[in-house]
Symmetry: C2
Subunit: 233 residues, 2 copies
């Protein structure tokens, strides 16, 4: 590659990083906003979150176009190619995090926000843990910092534990409040969505680690957290 | 492109299609197997499904490598590039369908399969509808048939309706059987996973349509199905 090509590549990859940072910021804000909408039972805010998700989708399409153009025109090798492919995949994951915010917003009408469901207060704390992971892993991507990425992975267990605790709390709540079972079921799905946001942050961390080092972080278990031995049965 | 290049491209894209067909076959079988394991409460079969998911992941990695090599070496334009990018994305979606099978398998230990939860009998029927969509959309991909892809999309509503009906049935069941709420909650998640399989088949259908025609099928709503006005509250 001559100097001109290298500079053009660096500019393109910088643009990719910028787009992904923008997507990540929107996805985090959407999760935070969905928690506020939920607590306030704010249907208009929920509608805005659902509508706003399109912006993230458009940015993902831009990342795809740019990444494919970059691979086709500049034929990057080894480290550079790994980074472009990582950017492409990370954009896909961030888009899915945006989808979770949208899915949570869709459940706002189904859940009364007047505080009569006590476990509702646990969800924003769980959301905060998950969005912190998203922000930190995107910072690690921007800084090409594999150690920071690894530290994000280590926090996924805490999110899983929080999820398992909410699952048990909600099952107990359902047994004691049969008339609120439908609302509690929607909250179960929201908790599961947030648990998945943590999983996705972990997936991104693994991609960042691989892009930066060329090595895999080691096999880790990333499936659905399934609490067994719950309160019922 | 000279004749040699065209032939090499055709061979590569044929290999991509072959890998995706293989992934699709494995993902469908895994969903079917998860339903059998669930009905029989077969923990060993569930463990095999979880283990078998790795094979799908490996195939996805192969698709990625091949697609990136194809873009970098052959710099395909327009129609051809669209098809390679579609293959890359479809592989990602099929991998997620495999993950749903794994997630269902993980819930097998939490659900007693002795028929005392009547709504359990609804899940295999729903799974059949969803896997039929997956098979038909991958056939449409193999045949580059945009009309067949469109017909798959039209069936997603039936899966969503089925899901909403199961949601209501399970909520009612929970109210009447508080001691089985935890098991029923796991079944809710399984139903949601199957509903997502239908959504993903729809996403693939849109990619197949776009790859074959260069046009988008038109904006469609693909979010979480959220049943409102359920039986409770």
């Amino acid at each position: 590659m001559n100097e001109h090509t290298v500079k053009a590549f660096d500019e393109d990859i910088g643009e990719l990083r910028g787009l992904i940072a923008q997507m990540g910021g929107l996805a985090e804000s959407a999760i935070d906003a969905s928690m506020v909408a939920l607590k306030r039972h704010d249907l208009e805010a929920a509608a805005r979150i659902i509508e706003g998700d399109k912006e993230i989708d458009i940015l993902e399409t831009e990342v795809e176009r740019l990444a494919v153009r970059l691979i086709a025109l500049r034929a990057p090798m080894a480290d550079d190619l790994r980074e472009v492919v990582a950017a492409l995949k990370i954009a896909g994951v961030v888009e899915r995090i945006g989808d979770y915010a949208k899915n949570i917003a869709r459940r706002v009408p189904a859940i009364r926000g007047d505080g009569h469901i006590e476990p509702l207060s646990l969800l924003p704390a769980m959301a905060g843990m998950a969005t912190d992971m998203v922000r930190d892993v995107l910072d690690a991507f921007a800084a090409r910092d594999p150690e920071a990425a690894q530290r994000v992975c280590e926090r996924d267990r805490a999110v899983d534990d929080f999820y398992n605790s909410i699952f048990r709390t909600l099952v107990t709540f359902m047994m004691e409040n049969p008339s609120s079972i439908s609302q509690a079921a929607h909250m179960l799905f929201i908790a599961k969505n947030l648990e998945r946001v943590g999983d996705h942050a972990t997936n991104v961390a693994e991609m960042v680690y691989y892009a930066a080092t060329g090595r895999h972080m080691g096999e880790r278990d990333q499936g659905d957290a399934v609490p067994l031995n719950g309160n019922a049965e």
